[in-house]
């Protein structure tokens, strides 16, 4: 499931699966926060890479330089 379609699911599922949350008592706030930042950070990274790839697809000279710098791993770069 895309965590950005259902943010609550992305938090609840891994905590429940790993058993790291104290579901009967007070929540482990630090652990909860780290879990919250996990999916969103990864999502942002993918979005950033996709956006950079779109930029390179739009401007040929920038694409040439990026290739020269071996930044070809950016998704969409060859589009």
């Amino acid at each position: 499931m895309d965590p950005w379609e259902d943010p609550a699911a992305s938090v609840a599922s891994p905590l429940a699966e790993t058993g790291e949350a104290d579901l009967d008592g007070a929540p482990d706030v630090l652990n909860l926060l780290s879990r919250l930042s996990g999916p969103s950070g990864a999502y942002r990274e993918v979005r950033r890479q996709q956006a950079a790839g779109a930029v390179l697809a739009r401007w040929p000279l920038l694409r040439e330089v990026a290739r020269g710098l071996d930044r070809t791993a950016l998704p969409g770069e060859d589009g």
Partner: protein
């Protein structure tokens, strides 16, 4: 002693303008030791109110065999600075580089002698690589500010500059985008591309494109005096604050 070198990624990106305003802002915070212009274009002085016809400066003094420190000035805003000088010779930069190598402490040693604030930051406005003067500045610099416009010319020039920075052994280099206009597609794209490039570190402050900067120079002022409420004035101030914080952080790490 902290030395900050300001180096352009390409021609016309506004590195001297940025260096001048950074110097003024640091001086206003009482954190500037001195600024020196290592560019044969000799333009830093114009931002600091020096008379256009005044040819004096570091290279001029050396070429004439006079004490180099006599070429130093203090602007009306309290910025101690050494202009490059108008030598009228094409090899003025190379001669200056050769002379500096003979001095105790090189470039850093010379700047040390003219700074007013005991713990002040020394700021060098350096020309594009591969100038010998720029290599000297980068080798001594605690922080290099690589000035890039949000355009393809800067992006194409950055790889060579980054190689030069690494070869000189510069402690830390950060790219600062200068002249950013959020209304322009290419500016937004360039900012995104630079922010996502794993091979370079982008400073957390960028300077927006602001007509007040050009008008201020035409009026022989800085934007701090000409348009103190302008976006550029705010950006330069933020950049100076970040530089002070960054150097402080590095000092604490080294201690």
């Amino acid at each position: 002693m902290n030395l900050v070198a300001v180096v352009p990624a390409a021609g016309g990106v506004g590195a001297t303008t940025l260096a001048a305003h950074l110097a003024v802002s640091l001086a206003r915070k009482r954190r500037l030791g001195a600024a020196v212009d290592l560019c044969p274009g000799n333009a830093l002085r114009l931002h600091l109110g020096m008379d256009w016809q005044d040819a004096a400066g570091l290279a001029t003094q050396i070429a004439a065999g006079h004490p180099w420190s006599d070429g130093a000035y203090v602007s009306s805003g309290g910025v101690p600075f050494l202009p490059f000088g108008q030598t009228g010779r094409e090899d003025g930069g190379a001669r200056l580089a050769a002379w500096l190598e003979t001095q105790p402490g090189g470039l850093g040693g010379c700047l040390e002698q003219i700074r007013l604030q005991p713990e002040g930051i020394l700021l060098a406005d350096a020309p594009r690589m591969p100038w010998q003067l720029t290599r000297q500045a980068l080798a001594r610099a605690d922080l290099a500010i690589l000035v890039a416009a949000p355009d393809a010319a800067s992006y194409a020039g950055l790889p060579a500059l980054l190689e030069g920075v690494a070869a000189a052994g510069c402690a830390e280099a950060r790219v600062v985008i200068n002249g950013f206009d959020p209304r322009r597609d290419l500016d937004r794209d360039m900012a995104l591309l630079l922010a996502n490039d794993p091979g370079l570190d982008l400073a957390p402050v960028m300077v927006h494109r602001d007509e007040a900067v050009r008008e201020a120079l035409a009026c022989k002022q800085t934007v701090f005096d000409y348009a103190p409420s302008s976006q550029a004035a705010y950006d330069f101030e933020a950049l100076a604050t970040w530089v002070v914080a960054r150097l402080g952080h590095r000092s604490r790490q080294a201690a």
